[in-house]
Assembly symmetry: C2
Homo-oligomer: 200 residues x 2
């Protein structure tokens, strides 16, 4: 144990893309990073905040639709942290809302690396704010629910009866490809055909 203490890996939610919607903490930690491992959904404007001398590692390749496997990202974060550098893991939205931040945090912990979790504005909260559509509204929606409209195996097997609740705002992340199926299934499960909906 002669080395200097390792710095915790910061797992940061970068929000919906506008650097103005980063948290103050995220903004500061990005500016202090030695190395940033970032996802596809992190905007160019936010990456511009990474110090010029810092290493940037893209954890996905869009063109070939081939993403770095999660296990590889986990290993990468551990080895970068062990080098003693200030590691920032930057994810779109919030790391804990369909961001798989929990898996990375767990792997770091299992390998004796401390982590720090910085929440971000989840994508749909940015959408509600900019579109003016609230998640909850007295007399209209008493709760809100987030589900994913995209499955890796292509099969969208959701509990449609439970989701077809007129009192709850339903937010479907990554639902564009399946938007017709989602709409059809919800109506089949009992939701009125004239239920207001928005695709953002």
């Amino acid at each position: 144990m002669t080395g200097k203490p390792l710095r915790p890996v910061a797992i940061i939610g970068a929000g919906p893309g506008d650097p103005d919607l980063l948290t103050v903490k995220a903004h500061r930690l990005i500016g202090e990073a030695d190395v940033v491992v970032y996802d596809l959904l992190v905007s160019v404007e936010i990456l511009d905040l990474v110090p010029p001398g810092a290493t940037r590692i893209f954890a996905g390749k869009r063109a070939r639709k081939h993403f770095m496997p999660q296990e590889e990202i986990n290993e990468l974060l551990v080895s970068l942290a062990k080098s003693g550098r200030r590691v920032v893991r930057l994810k779109g939205g919030d790391p804990f809302v369909f961001g798989r931040g929990g898996e990375e945090a767990l792997y770091l912990a299992e390998n004796g690396i401390a982590f720090e979790m910085v929440p971000g504005i989840t994508a749909s909260a940015g959408c509600t704010a900019y579109s003016g559509i609230p998640f909850t509204h007295r007399g209209l929606a008493t709760g809100v629910r987030f589900v994913t409209g995209h499955r890796h195996d292509g099969e969208l097997d959701l509990n449609w009866r439970s989701l077809a609740d007129p009192d709850t705002t339903l937010v479907v992340y990554m639902g564009l490809t399946n938007v017709q199926k989602i709409s059809d299934e919800l109506i089949k499960a009992g939701l009125a055909g004239d239920t207001p909906a928005a695709a953002i």
Copy 2:
């Protein structure tokens, strides 16, 4: 129309309380405010960011459990905006998650006052980040749902069967008073008694 154009009212989510978890935009707008109308849940540390010369209006009185009625807050925001000042409406968490931000935005719009909505880290996202409990996790939770555990009329009439879903993380806001009832009802509705739960 000889007056100067009115400034939009900024309806801002102040997040869970830590000023570090404000968005960059919220931080800036608070620092530029002429008058701030704030809720009980906005922390002292965040109020310290309000410029010394600005007016602060507390929209609730905790001691007497008497809050300024929503209609009065709506009127207040309109009249303050009409005075030409930079008005910031500051709410704990996110204005659109049980924050009634939609009602205020609607009333402003109906009265010809522009508004700007600034999302905040919703309270539970702060809790997940600081406790290390993710909203979604592969193989454990495929979605997340927010409901309120507190009703103004005291009656907690939720759809327990729909809520008792082992694949969805259920987040109950303001649920402390009713925590026993919520737990009992969920188990009665079919959720396993050993389902992990946390009160934060």
